[in-house]
């Protein structure tokens, strides 16, 4: 086998992770840190996996039941308005950061503009009622904190979405999602490939693709274009599960690897060591942002951790923690690889971190008046 073939057929990241997971594997009793690592790792995975599965299935349902035309017809004509609506769509469709990635991937495939997709990606996990409720509870119904978090999260999502839309075209930013006119031939599954026209042999024909490295999602038996027969509910449901399964398979391993890195950070980072630097306002913001990236907490839980730093870290640093975590952490960084090109990811990360830093800095400057 040629070296090129081996390279194409081997993912180094999973292979590297498997070796690391073996090294850190908890064996017997005694190694307390490894036991803690295992507990934290399994916890993060169990917490996130239901949302990941739901997200993948919702993505599959969108793929199977919603046509590109319908999505396009639902969007406002003005681009900026689409971005503004997308950033607060989480209020109607509340999703956490694990679920939103596969949904956004499918929505992009259905023609949602890049800027709006990014706005939903970043806004969905912050601007939603569940996160608002958990923030309210964590901060003992201190409503200014809840409103500030929601408003800042919304603003960051809108601004980042608009800027990304200005910098990149969809082709430059998004991995091939195989745009389609209907649920039939659309393929945005695990690998980069181009679906090709099916060879029509009958009313139910597998969609064939040219990808060498491709999963089986394009081989669902569905009616082909031109066929008079319409797909029934069962067939569409089967197609939804097929697409969902592929989405889960293609993005799930990123979640696992990210969760493992988070667990390592969670196990070995001494939180009290952060406290000695809390006196310096902007440094404390940076520290809390770093912690949010490393800990990979769910957006529905991170407020409780942020609140545990009350009296220790300034409000601006707590807000930085709550604004960073839902939109950028190690787990998400890996999951974004499944949707965006490396250049787009780098730009997205720079924009997110800059926006959070500026927002938190402004909060720090006027915190005496707000919090």
């Amino acid at each position: 086998m040629a070296l090129k073939d081996i390279k194409e057929k081997t993912d180094y990241l999973p292979a590297l992770f498997l070796v690391t997971a073996f090294v850190f594997f908890p064996q017997g009793y005694g190694a307390e840190a490894l036991q803690s690592l295992a507990v934290i790792f399994v916890s993060i995975v169990l917490e996130a996996i239901p949302f990941m599965l739901v997200g993948s299935l919702v993505g599959g349902i969108i793929e199977a039941f919603v046509s590109r035309e319908r999505i396009t017809s639902m969007l406002p004509q003005k681009g900026w308005l689409t971005v503004c609506i997308a950033a607060c769509a989480g209020m109607v469709f509340p999703v956490c950061e694990c679920a939103v990635v596969p949904v956004v991937r499918r929505l992009l495939g259905k023609g949602l503009p890049l800027s709006a997709a990014v706005a939903y990606l970043l806004g969905g996990p912050v601007v939603n009622p569940i996160v608002a409720a958990s923030t309210a509870m964590a901060y003992a119904f201190d409503w200014p904190v809840v409103i500030l978090r929601t408003a800042c999260g919304y603003g960051i999502a809108v601004i980042t979405g608009i800027i990304i839309g200005r910098i990149f075209t969809e082709e430059e930013a998004v991995l091939d999602t195989g745009h389609s006119g209907s649920y039939i031939s659309s393929c945005s599954c695990c690998e980069n490939h181009t679906p090709v026209k099916p060879e029509i042999k009958g009313p139910l024909t597998p969609v064939v693709n040219s990808g060498d490295n491709h999963g089986a999602c394009c081989f669902v038996k569905v009616p082909v274009p031109g066929s008079k027969r319409k797909a029934g509910l069962m067939e569409k449901t089967a197609a939804a599960f097929n697409h969902g399964m592929d989405d889960f398979f293609s993005a799930g391993h990123y979640l696992i690897i990210g969760a493992f890195i988070a667990a390592v950070a969670n196990t070995f980072i001494d939180r009290s060591s952060f406290l000695s630097m809390s006196e310096i306002p902007f440094l404390s913001i940076l520290l809390m942002m770093s912690m949010a990236v490393l800990l990979n907490l769910c957006s529905e839980a991170d407020a409780f951790i942020a609140a545990s730093f009350r009296g220790i870290m300034p409000p601006s640093a707590q807000m930085a923690f709550m604004l960073t975590g839902p939109v950028f952490d190690l787990k998400l960084l890996l999951m974004y690889r499944n949707v965006f090109t490396p250049r787009a990811i780098i730009t997205l990360v720079i924009l997110i971190l800059s926006a959070v830093l500026i927002t938190s800095g402004l909060i720090e400057l006027i915190s005496g008046f707000i919090l």
């Binding site: 239901p50 739901v54 003992a140 597998p206 399964m245 196990t267 939180r271 990979n296 769910c298 609140a307």
Partner: protein
Amino acid sequence: MKRADIGMKRLLYVFLFFAWSLFLLFLIAGKGYMAFLRPEFGVFLAIALFIAGGYMITAVFRFSTQGVNMSVVSRTLVLLIPILYCIAAKDSILGSQAFMQRYTGSFGQESRYSNLSGNTENDPDKKETILDIYLKPDLFRGKHVSVMGMIIHDEELKQHFDGKKTAVYRFLINCCAADAVPLAVALDGEDLENLKGDQWVLVEGVFDIGTVKDEKYPVILKPVITPVETPAFPYLY
């Protein structure tokens, strides 16, 4: 593409989702997930079980012409790693190592836990927990309390507990063990060094609130300590 390769890929998918379905079913049925998550997460795991089961059935009937390659195998293995870790870490809980990484010594900000009812809220006859003490420290001050938890000795605790280096503690889970917060109460008594670290104990004594460097800290005076079995649900929720 060889037929055997195609069959292998289908088998991998089926096995992956079968393993996850079985794993989730096992965790839900035995409430084993509560060693990692809040009880309310059982509903989410049940939804996950339904979807994983659906994916498994889909994989069984899937029509595929693509075979297996290293990428598919490695991704499948990655997705199975959490199950292996869970099996290996059976009966493991967060202990003093996690405590020392997470404890920041803050006390007296009970509003932080105001969303939690604690134990005595619902049933006054129940024994109080460390969470109850954190929720209403003034209510318990000067009263005889009886709390269960693990023992920790550490020199670093002296700065938080006015020179006392032994405490009883438990973790409070907000969502999952990753965000678990240690709640500790200092012990002020004799012969505490003889207690083994991370040993589960029942501590009985008089609760008080001490002060060190203008910061409050919880303490149980003249504790009577009895070793106990690890409780079925070691965390507070």
